[in-house]
Each structure stands twice: as structure tokens, then as C-alpha cells.
Symmetry: C2
Subunit: 207 residues, 2 copies
């Protein structure tokens, strides 16, 4: 912890800029974000953005790195923790849906920005450390061998869980269309997801 994670001093101008940029980039992406809007939101002048961060590109990189750096451990958690399998799954779904319903823009930002600028992400933003799926793999195989769960490929199980947790939140308008729900009904529907996904996954795992 020698360095403070690239993150500037609290309440400083640099911090205000960073926070404003975070909000704007998160919702509009690199192409949709405008330096003027970031400056306005930060309550400072456009020129100051360039004083602290040399260019839009650099500012974007700082924000994107922070967003990814914050999200990556959340994914690794499912895969690396040492809890018993069922407990791990219950805990993960609960925690994960909580995080996403509070920060619905983050997964969509990551997905669509990587798609639009793959080079940038691969070269400068993505973390070099990958999660280590070995623990989870072994756990699933043990449970299968013991006859406590149905046979299943662990990797598909991981992706199934993550899909059902994230997708409805990022595709809210699409889901509303598919289900014919109004705004209030959709809100309710999303609140039911914790229990429904947990039930669904555990049911699919029964031997």
C-alpha cells in the first residue's frame, strides 16, 4: 500500500474532477461523455481538467481503471472464497444482486466499453491478475462425487449464476418489454430476483 491507488486527496479539486468524471463516463462512456459536462458537474472550469489530467483519454483511463479495479474482486469472490458450496452460492447471489442494484451502470459500462475499445482495455486497463477458479472447480467436483449435487460443468455454473444476477439489471428496458411490465412492476420484479435466482440455482443442482 505504498501508493494510494492513484486516487487523489479527498475533497481536493482533483478528487472533485475524478468524481464528476466517474459519474459522467460511467453513464455515457468514452464517446458520449463531454469534457464540458464533467467540468460543470465538478463545478470548475474546463481548463482545469487538462491541468490535472493531461487529456480526456488520460482522465478516462483513470476512471475506467478504478471502475474495473473495483469490480474485479467482486467477481473473484464467488470463485475464490473457501465457504461450503451452497452457502457460498447463497451468499454470492445475495451480495452480488445487492451491489448491482445499487450500481446498475457498472456492468454495462464494462461490457460496452470493452466492446468498443478492446485495444485500450487489453493494453492499459484490465488487471493482469486473473481469478483462480481452482477452489470452486474442486468444490463442485467434490459435491458431485459425493452425490450431493447433480453433475454439472463448474464453469457453466459460474456463468449461469452471474448471468442471472446481472442481466436483468442491465437489460431492464428489454425485460420490461418482454414481460409487459410498467416501471413499478419492474421494480418489484427486480426485488424478487435474490430469492428467485437462489431457488432456481439450488433447484438445478439437486441430484
Amino acid at each position: 500500500m505504498a501508493k494510494k491507488e492513484d486516487q487523489p486527496q479527498a475533497d481536493s479539486t482533483e478528487q472533485k474532477i475524478f468524481d464528476a468524471a466517474h459519474e459522467v463516463f460511467l453513464q455515457k462512456g468514452m464517446d458520449g461523455a463531454k469534457m464540458q459536462e464533467i467540468a460543470d458537474l465538478a463545478g470548475i472550469n474546463k481548463a482545469l481538467l487538462h491541468y490535472y489530467y493531461r487529456s480526456k483519454e488520460k482522465l478516462y483511463e483513470a476512471v475506467a481503471r478504478a471502475i474495473i479495479g473495483h469490480a474485479a474482486p467482486v467477481i473473484s469472490q464467488l470463485i475464490e472464497s473457501e465457504l461450503p458450496l451452497e452457502e457460498k452460492i447463497r451468499h454470492f447471489i445475495d451480495f452480488y444482486i445487492g451491489v448491482i442494484s445499487r450500481n446498475p451502470f457498472i456492468p454495462l459500462f464494462i461490457i460496452s466499453e470493452i466492446n468498443k475499445h478492446p485495444e485500450r482495455f487489453i493494453e492499459t486497463i484490465l488487471p493482469k491478475e486473473l481469478p483462480k477458479p481452482q477452489v470452486f472447480m474442486r468444490q463442485v467436483e467434490e459435491e458431485i462425487a459425493a452425490g450431493r449435487i447433480r453433475e454439472i460443468h463448474p464453469k457453466h455454473l459460474i456463468i449461469n449464476i452471474i448471468s442471472m444476477c446481472i442481466f436483468p439489471f442491465i437489460a431492464k428496458p428489454m425485460a420490461r418489454f418482454a414481460l409487459g411490465l410498467n416501471s413499478a412492476e419492474m421494480k418489484l420484479f427486480l426485488e424478487e430476483r435474490r430469492d428467485q435466482v437462489t431457488e432456481f440455482v439450488l433447484a438445478a443442482l439437486r441430484p
Copy 2:
């Protein structure tokens, strides 16, 4: 079928423009797409874009309407057809994953463009016709009553299926990160999805 769906004559200049715009908008979205790039891809001059479609906005609307108009029936299909439930689910997953693996950009385009410009979509692009989930709802309830499947909310079932079909394809880089796969391994993984999702859903429905 009085009108030809707004679609111009095959091989005409207008068609070449439309196709090029389709490709560029699909991958880069409204903000990321540039008229110059579309013109280059179509092999014509920038001015011609404005001759046929008065503005970038209008060109975008034509493309977005076509993309959505093509996608909406695909979703409705799961919900409205009259096949027996299990067969319907098997068929849908198979068909749906096929469509998405051939057109991986479409769901992401729809999701992220709606998020960035909700007004535009709600007012001018989204179809007024919603799918009618009644058939599917009744079917699920009948199967539950007959004891042939476990109790489940039909709406969550629909969304679970759609989530597991779409998400891995649009979040490919994220999934690669989570699973620690290289490009070839990821390709293989996605090919396994058809069977894996079908198995998973049917397992979750066992009484």
C-alpha cells in the same frame, strides 16, 4: 405488406449506405459512429449520406428501427408460441443461442443504446406492440398444477432463460476474465452453452 418495411431497393446506393450504417452503428453506437466511416465503408461520398438520409439522426433511426424490428419477434417467440412447454424451452434455447452467436452485437446495441438515449427509443423506435405472455404463463401454471414441474414464477423463468442465453455472448471478455480462458477455450465454452443451458433449465424445473 403494403410497404416494403422502409427498406430500399437491393444493391442500390441507398442500400449500400444502409448496410454500411447498420454495421457501423451496431458496433459503435450513435455517439461512436462517424459519418465519414460509414461513407468509406459504403464506398461513396459523405455528402451522399445526407442526400438519402437527411441527417445522422435519421440514418440512425432507420438502422435502429430495423435492428429492433428484427429482434423483437425473436423474444416474443419464446413467450407466444403454442408448443408444449419442455419442447418450447428446448427449441427456444437452441434457436436463440444460434441467433446470438451469429449476431453477438445486437443485444448489446439494444441494451446500451436504450440506456444512453431512452427518450429517442421510447418515442420513435420501440414497437408499440408488446409480447403477450399469457400463453406461457398459463402453460407454466398448468405444468405446476399437474406436478410435472417445480413451482416457479413464470416471469422469472423467462428472464432466467434469456439471461443465460444472451449474457455470456455480450460479456465475453468479462467471462474470459472470470474463467481465465484464452480465446480458443472461450469459443469452445460458448459452443457448449446450448446443451448446458438446456440441461440447467430443465434440471431446475424438475418437481
